[in-house]
Structure formats: C-alpha cells, structure tokens
C-alpha cells in the first residue's frame, strides 16, 4: 500500500510540471551555492598543502634573527650575538622533538665566471639543510661530511644560477670565483617551479633556483675568519606533528634563556596550518551560512508554493477524503511530493554547483576540490529543508474537514 501511495504522489509530481520546476529553483540555488563555496575553499587549502609538500613538508620550523632596537637594549641583551652555531648545538643536545637541525649563514660576495659577474648572497649550510628544504640534485653531488670537515672549496648552484654563469654548458666540474676564492661546482639543483595558479607568472620556488650554496665551514673558515659563529637561519624539523605542541615553546624558552631576550623569530608551519584551518573554518562557516540562508529562502518558496497549491487543491483533498483517504495518507502524499521535488532540486543544484566550481576553476584558474561528504551534505540539507517546510502544509491538508474541503471553490 505504501508503495502505491508513493507511486501516486510521484505521478502527481509529474503531472504538475511547472509548479514542480518553480519549487525546485529555490533549492537548486541554495544547494549550488553551498557546494560551490565548499568546493572552492577546499581547493584553496589543498593547493597550500601541495606547496608545503613541495618544500620540505609540514613539519618545518625556521628560526631567524630579529635585531632589537638599540636604544632599548639592556646590557645583557647587548651582549647577545644573535643566533649562533652554539644555539643550534644546544638545540640538538637539549631539545627532543626535532629530528633534523641545520643552519645557514648568508653573506654577499662578488661571484664571477667567464660569462657573468654579479654580487650575490652566498649561503653556507650544513648538509641537513638541503634535505630540510626538500632540495634535489639535477647533476653532480651534494656536500659530503669530508667537505664539511675540510672546509672544501666547493659549491652547489641552483638551476637558474648555473644557467646564468655557465650558459648551456654543464656547470659540474667548472670553477666559479666567489669573493677571493675559486670554488669547484660539484652539483646543480633541479629546476623547481610552483605557480599558485596557471595565470600566475610568479614562481613561488624561484629562490631555490637562485641559490649559491657552500659548506658552512668553507664560508666561516675561508671567508669570514673572524671566528664569529653567527648564523642567519636555524632550520628544524619536527619529529612528528604531535611533537609541535611541546617542542616549539621549549625551543623559544631555550633561546630566550641563552640570549636574554627574544631577538629571533620562529616560523612554524604547524602553526600556520592551524591558523589556516582556523581561517578556513571561518570562511567555510560564512559561506555555509550564506548557502543555508538561500536554502532557507528556497524552503520558504517551497512552503509558499505548497500552501498556494494547497488552496488550489483543497477540493482535491476533499474528494480524496470522500473516497476514503485517511489523514495520514493525505499527509504522506503531500510530504512525498515535497521530498521528491526538493530531492530533485538537490540533485540539480548539485549539478549546477559542481558545474560552477569547475567553471570558476577553469576561468579564474583556481583549485577546486569536491568530496562525497560535501555532496551528501548539500543534498541532505535540501531534503531536510523540504521536510521541515513541507510538514506544515501536509499537516494542514491532512487535518482538513472533508465537508469544508469539498465545498471549497
């Protein structure tokens, strides 16, 4: 009997084509806007994660020196030398939670080959630094432990620098003059590219292509000789995402204790992820609220049309009751009609929303992601709105006095 009643309601939905279409529009737009906004915001986040995976993962923690304003410095603070190799050693010894510790020192030098000459920052690094930033080699080798111990006169170039100083020739094995010394190029890094969108001409990884790397010891012993052990960057990798909560505050505390002031800055990707997720949530909620408002409007449209069609169909309700329809059967009929109409609207809205997301993705060259959860949520929303807004008219119809309903003109 239930199946027959459902079939009857379905037949009615088909019979009232225009009304069905009108009712659907509100829901279509609501679902479409929810799907579109969710899809675009998820796409943005997926793109950020991709960028991070490209450059050494999400467990990176970087420490940079941040000079304090001289006038306000206390004596103890003035004695601080900024970030040093000793800091890195202290971190390695005293802090757990990091599985990779590397340092980098940057100094500008004149760099010359037969082809070009340029004043450039040269970066003196410990070998772990390459792994830390996710650097890979196109040709040659990276620095060895022996290079480090002997402060070997060698360097590794980013792809762009190799092209700049050696043209189309293979740079490996060639000699590059850096400052007062001649260094042998032992390796060339893979050319790296990352564009936030296809329309974007800025390569977010160009800094890798522009590196001139030497062993840290080479820079300090052969060039600086001052005995200074200042570094420009301490790069740390968390052993796990869970370690983040304890390791980063411990790092800050340790460095403050050693320096007597917070003359450094910590850049922490886990922290950024959390911020991003927080922001993402705010966006998602905002968009969702907008979408839900349009769903609500759609629902009101549904209820309105149902109420209008209900007066139009009052007589029909009377006739149905006269031939023996019980209240719940009328109720079911009206409710099934709304659910079918809105389910249909939900599916259509989904199609429109998906189309919109892909349209925007192509036009504005934005990333877009759609998950089954989103799709279910959108259609579920549409149907529940329908049920909620369909309940009242259905209930009203079910309770109609048949004599009154029959007399209705």
């Amino acid at each position: 009997m239930l199946a027959a009643l459902l079939a009857d309601a379905f037949a009615d939905v088909r019979a009232y084509g225009t009304r069905t279409a009108l009712q659907t529009v509100g829901v279509v737009l609501g679902v479409a806007s929810v799907v579109a906004t969710l899809g675009l915001s998820a796409g943005q986040r997926a793109k950020s994660m991709e960028f991070w995976q490209e450059t050494g993962g999400t467990l990176k923690v970087l420490v940079y020196p941040k000079p304090l304003e001289a006038v306000r410095l206390a004596a103890r603070e003035r004695s601080s030398k900024g970030l040093t190799l000793a800091d890195a050693a202290a971190i390695r010894e005293r802090l757990s939670g990091f599985d990779l510790v590397a340092t980098a020192v940057r100094k500008p030098f004149w760099v010359r080959s037969w082809l070009a000459q340029k004043r450039l920052p040269v970066t003196g690094i410990t070998p772990a630094w390459g792994e830390f930033h996710g650097l890979t080699l196109a040709r040659g080798r990276f620095f060895t432990d022996q290079d480090m111990q002997t402060a070997a006169p060698v360097c590794v170039l980013g792809a762009e620098r190799a092209r700049e100083f050696f043209g189309s020739e293979d740079a490996v094995g060639r000699v590059l003059r850096v400052g007062d010394h001649a260094l042998v190029v032992v390796g060339v890094l893979t050319l790296r590219e990352f564009y936030w969108s296809r329309a974007d001409s800025w390569n977010a990884l160009s800094w890798i292509n522009e590196l001139v790397l030497v062993p840290a010891t080479t820079l300090t012993r052969r060039y600086l000789r001052s005995g200074s052990d200042q570094v420009d960057e301490i790069a740390l990798r968390l052993a796990s995402a869970e370690a983040h909560e304890r390791a980063v505050p411990a790092l800050r505390a340790l460095l403050v204790a050693r320096h007597g002031a917070e003359d450094f800055e910590i850049f922490d990707r886990q922290d950024r992820i959390q911020q991003m997720e927080q922001q993402g949530k705010v966006y998602d909620i905002t968009f969702l609220v907008c979408g839900l408002i349009s769903l609500l409007v759609g629902g009101i449209v549904v209820a309105n049309i149902m109420l209008a069609s209900f007066t139009e169909r009052m007589r029909e309700v009377g006739v149905r009751k006269a031939i023996g329809a019980k209240g719940w059967q009328i109720f079911l009929q009206f409710l099934v009609e709304t659910i079918v109409v809105n389910g249909l609207g939900g599916v259509l809205g989904l199609a429109v929303g998906v189309g919109f997301v892909h349209g925007v993705a192509v036009l504005l060259d934005q990333a877009a992601v759609l998950t089954p959860t989103m799709i279910l949520a959108a259609v579920g929303c549409a149907v529940s709105v329908a049920v909620v807004f369909g309940l009242f008219p259905a209930w009203k119809a079910a309770r109609m006095d048949p004599v009154v309903a029959l007399r209705y003109e």
């Binding site: 009857d8 009232y16 009377g318 149905r320 006269a322 031939i323």
Partner: protein, 230 residues
C-alpha cells in the same frame, strides 16, 4: 426484495452548527434505508438535505442522535475510522464530478482501491472492469478534461462503484449536464438499481427524483414527507 435489516438507520439525528449564530440544520431526523432501495431525498435549498447527505456519507458527524450503518453505531467514530467505513460502504457521485484533473480516468477510478489497500494488479483489473461497465473502457488513459460532461460523470460513477459500496450517494448528479446527457446518467442509475445497488439521490429536481421508487422530502431540517419503503 427488501431485506429485514435496514442498511441505514438514523434515529433522532440533530445537526447544529454554531458559528456565532446557532443554525439547526437537522432537527430530529429518523430514516431507515433498506438494501436495494432507490431513494430520492428532495427539499429546497436550506432544508438540510446536503447536511443529511454528508451525515449519511460519513463526511460529517451528527450533533445528537444515532446512526447505525449495517448495524454498527457510527455517529461517534474518529475521522480515520470514518474514512475506512466511507471507503468500504459509501460511493460518492458529485454534481461537479470532482475527478482529479491531473490524473487519468483509470487512476481516478483506481484511487479508492488504493486507499483500501488493494494490490496493484487487482486494482487495475477491477478499475478496468468498472470502466467497461459504464462504457468508458476506451477512455481509461484520457484525462478528465478530454472527456464530455456525461463521460466525466460516468467515470465518477465508476470511481464510486469500484469498491462495491453498500450505498451509492449521488448529490445532484445531473446538475451540470444537459437534458439528454442527464437522462442517460439517470438511465445508468436505474440500471444499477435494477441490479440490486442501493442508490440514494439528493436533488431538488422532480424529474430526477421521479426515477427513484421512494421519495423523502425534507423541510426545515425535518422529514416532511416519506413515501415509505416500496
């Protein structure tokens, strides 16, 4: 032909509407209708004949009095129970036909069986058989709007009869039809009556009432004349 037990037994039926001003639509109606009877209820407008038909048809409940339908007291039943009895015992034919405009003739005729819970195949067969009986077998797939007035009323009669009701209740069944078509429809009622169907007509038209074998005249909510069981 007349059985001993009445099909319908109204005793002391009052119907009072109280919408600010009290209106006594029925004031103590006693009426017995036996199986197989062909009754016409007549009366001027405002005499209470529509109210009586609604109560007879279980669309409305009396304010006072007792109504035994096939021996069961039905004056105090719930709306759902009334719907079930209506479906089983009563077949309605209206002046305005009251077919569902968007449903085919067949679907219209099937509908009472649907509410009775009759399974699909049987429903279809019984509806088709009933359409054949009123001469509309070829119009099963049509929409009501595609039929003439007479055909629509035939479809409505098929719908009323498809559940094999004890009483066929017709309210001005020829009111929206021309003379000739009206006569045809009345011929159909006569034929049904001769086959043993209990028929109750509610009308103000003496020509229509003349078809019945028993006349009940209603004036001011009371039975003024009853030609009695034939």
């Amino acid at each position: 032909m007349v059985a001993r037990k009445p099909l319908v037994e109204l005793s002391g039926i009052w119907k009072i509407y109280d919408g600010g001003v009290e209106v006594q639509a029925l004031r103590g109606v006693d009426l017995r209708i036996y199986p197989g009877e062909y009754v016409a209820i007549m009366g001027p407008s405002g005499s209470g004949k529509s109210t009586l038909m609604h109560i007879l048809g279980l669309l409305d409940s009396p304010t006072r009095g007792s109504y035994l339908l096939a021996g069961e007291e039905v004056s105090k039943l719930s709306p759902a129970r009334l719907a079930t009895l209506r479906n089983r015992f009563i077949g309605f034919v209206f002046q305005a036909f009251n077919l569902l405009p968007r449903a085919s003739v067949l679907r219209n005729v099937e509908l009472p069986l649907l509410y009775a819970g009759v399974p699909g195949r049987e429903r279809r067969e019984r509806a088709m058989a009933m359409l054949a009986r009123v001469g509309l077998a070829d119009h099963a797939k049509h929409l009501p709007a595609q039929l003439s007035g007479g055909q629509r009323q035939r479809a409505a009669i098929a719908r009323a009869l498809v559940t094999e009701p004890s009483v066929l209740l017709a309210d001005e069944p020829t009111g929206n039809l021309d003379q000739t078509t009206g006569a045809e429809i009345m011929g159909l009622f006569d034929e049904l009556s001769s086959q043993g169907q209990t028929v109750v007509l509610v009308t103000h038209d003496p020509q229509v009432a003349a078809h019945a074998r028993r006349l009940v005249r209603l004036v001011d909510g009371r039975i003024a004349e009853d030609t009695g069981v034939a």
